[in-house]
Assembly symmetry: C2
Homo-oligomer: 575 residues x 2
Amino acid sequence: MSEYIIVRALEPLFNPGSVAVIGATNNWNKWGFSTFSSALDGFKGKVYPVNIKEGEVLGHRAFKRVTDIPGPVDLAIFVIPAPSVPPVMEDCVAKGVKAGVIITAGFAEAGEEGEKLQDEVVRIARKGSIRFVGPNCMGMWSASSNLRAFMFPMLVMNGPLAFVSQGGNVGGAVAMSGYERGVGFHRYVSCGCAADIQIEDYIEYFGEDPEVKVILTYIEGLNNGKRFIEKVSQVTKKKPVIALKPGKTEAAARAIKSHSGALAGSNIIYDTVFRKAGVIRAETGEELLDIALGFLTQPLPRGRNVAILTPGGSYGVLCADSCASEGLNVVRLPEETIAALDKIFPPRWSRGNPVDPAGDRNFIAYLTAPDKILPLDEVDSLIFMGFGSFSSFAPMISFLGSSFSQVFAATLPSLEELEQRISAVVPVLKSGNAAEIDKLVRPAISMFAFFLGVDDKEEIDDFTRLVTGAMATGEVDASFLSELPQLIAFRTAKANGEAKLPVRLAEAVDSLLSGVIRHWVKSYGKPLITTSFTEGVSHLRGTHFAYPSGQRAARVLAKLVEYKEYLEREGIYRA
Amino acid sequence: MSEYIIVRALEPLFNPGSVAVIGATNNWNKWGFSTFSSALDGFKGKVYPVNIKEGEVLGHRAFKRVTDIPGPVDLAIFVIPAPSVPPVMEDCVAKGVKAGVIITAGFAEAGEEGEKLQDEVVRIARKGSIRFVGPNCMGMWSASSNLRAFMFPMLVMNGPLAFVSQGGNVGGAVAMSGYERGVGFHRYVSCGCAADIQIEDYIEYFGEDPEVKVILTYIEGLNNGKRFIEKVSQVTKKKPVIALKPGKTEAAARAIKSHSGALAGSNIIYDTVFRKAGVIRAETGEELLDIALGFLTQPLPRGRNVAILTPGGSYGVLCADSCASEGLNVVRLPEETIAALDKIFPPRWSRGNPVDPAGDRNFIAYLTAPDKILPLDEVDSLIFMGFGSFSSFAPMISFLGSSFSQVFAATLPSLEELEQRISAVVPVLKSGNAAEIDKLVRPAISMFAFFLGVDDKEEIDDFTRLVTGAMATGEVDASFLSELPQLIAFRTAKANGEAKLPVRLAEAVDSLLSGVIRHWVKSYGKPLITTSFTEGVSHLRGTHFAYPSGQRAARVLAKLVEYKEYLEREGIYRA
């Protein structure tokens, strides 16, 4: 079984007990310094510096050769000039090293002589069954061993993604963006020239790892397209693989040759390879993450019919345009649904899809609308726009420091009143009694509704039912109740001339709504993709992620549909 | 002269002496509340609330009718139900009001009856020569009178852009993104149904205003394409006009009809209209700003030949692919330039375009490379990738808190030594003596070079020459010298267990480099567009703006070329 072979082969790479950094140095202006620092940073096993001239590196006893190290060495990281790599690899074979990361450049990407050198390194490594990453790469990250075998300190967090990138900078940028967005990586490899372990080998290995939910790859050129299809098509039947592959133009093909030494190949050939392998293709580094977040947070849509709920007409127009351009069907809503929405929206609402309440001040109506759209057989997915509104607008209100905030705060109930309610809530929440909890949630929701200026009893009941439902499934926890005093804290803070608090309050409200959204996604089993107000203003991270525009949300939804259709063709997906 | 007519006609709208908010209220859950709050916020003229029922609004004496207001009223803002707009407009005519903003919805976008109501309002307003914005809009911002006649508190700053948007939400999102990016608006109008003042009227008016450098517009549908071409083609000969126009698909056309009441028209027709009018077309709201920032910070490129300088091969590959896809020519560099770069880069560098030093640790070489590329006749523009590196990586270093930072800090010179140098600098800088300044800049640059691990005298001389050159043209001021003690402060902070300072230090270095870049742009008269490392990590604002990816930079560059070619065809641009 090939999967066991690859798992066994790459195990010492991702879970080594000990690491040697060959070329580790005290000279902070060399890569050997930052690589050694990175390897030290958090890794729980032993890390040995190897340096011919320096007796001690960063306070660690250094060894002249790998063979001088007293204990066993599982992984060797090379940060030495290219011509020294073959003899040191011989030492590694002699030492019984199991895996390598060759950061050093100057191999296949550097012309004929470099290619020869690379072949030599592969030949030596094979003698000792050493599997290695690179050469000409930036290194790797393994969450399970907390190892940053990387060229410089890298901002990456643990999470459900795995990524093999033929570009260290693009890979690092995506990993860092993931950090900013609150999503992390179980494995990350910058594979460079991929002389030994091929891109499809990494993908096969990630495919076998239950910790990995979605696989990303940046490919400049494959060494063997047929092998890629064979191996990766087995993985894509289990989990999504998303690829970024430049090289549409001759200018890029030239750049690829001098960068990773790969042959870019024709764009049409790669489209065929990816289609056969069931790989989803992204257009930018950021889109790799966009799509990955879609797969992580959403179920697969049953079909191409999409509804759009928007707080503003122009957002809806742009989103509808993108959906239709991506081959999604902005479906006409049935008359009964129009009638149901007529009841909660003012007469000026769009009365169609996109659903646009046209500046309705009743935000509770907006928030309950998905519950009227998602049950429809005609609707496979919903794009919910302008999400994270409270977080987005709170800084604005603070910033302006205008009469708006002052008067707004003045209309709120008293601190004492609210504290009484909260202290009554806590023991009941701890008791876990559902009926009692419902009784407590209701006044909190009423207060929230009051905050939004809503007094329609039926609508408040609707929303309460949603929140208690989401609490029952564990998607919303009770902590939002204790955030409500911030309504009051805001008032007090304004009186003291501070204006920072509404952001926290707003975040609590957005967090509550995020829970309701996750609850809907689970209950209806349909994608419910949110977008924020602007590219710049988005305070939502991880599972609260909202795409910065309808266009980006539409692209992601189209990719989810593409993957579902692939699984359908393969006989794996059944609605 | 039509321009004088439009300037005179719209003057009371953008520079009113007094404003009446009709529908102003103390009920904070109505738009009349937030609109009145907004109008109060910063406007220097008089603001009168008009409300039939409330005698006082937010502490201001309210009037039952506009005609009851004792002083003159230049501008009336309508936030009342649609059927009340015609009689109140009659009052405005009687009062001698000069301009209006009708936020109220329920007109042309709401069907036949709404259209009739809209015609009625236009008819009445014409009697009194009242020009008005809307209806069905979000309002407007005028920097010259600091007036936010807007539906809610809006985060917008003063600056060289003007924007007319047929979507209030898309417009607001772009304005807010501008705020985040550090670029502002002299005028912003949400024009809604554009019953009276047409999109081309606003553009004509912005065209006459010397404060406005670049004009943006979001268009759902034009009422008169021929009139648009006539008026706007006059403006585009003077300054760029950038348009976002959805409606490629039938789904969007339907959404447009119910949103702004406009007819979307065919995409091909709009392409023709924009081409004839010399309007640049953007694909997203964010791209409106991307392109605007390009026009604000760059000269027009002489042609399509582009060079790319990249700190990483994969960035260069993606950027080259985008440039070529956008019709730019990733030019082959002459042998002399390759030879010149051979001297400053290690042998493994890409030896072609994109120029990639392939992980060279000598950052001074990287920073001086543009000076070797920009003088070439073969190069019309340069994309300089990975800019803002110091700001980007500093938080990473702080975050890790690893041995890296500790050892790095330990290698720096002493605080006393540096303070001595700085105190010697200040009086000389004040003297303005160029030769003396050069003498002082040199050691500071040497220290910076030391910080980067460079000791090649020739390269330090090169860089010193660049910095003193940029100081001579005023693009770099001497303050960066006084930021250098932060190298030391960083060291001290690390010893105390704090780790925040390198960000400030890094910003000082990036700010110095931004100045050098502006200097180059001026000296060579060619675009030098920078990109940052990732979409998420970009700390650069305003004139230091760096695009988040090579793809976005390439799109902007292509638009600058497109505008230059338009001006060339019109006989206005001559190389």
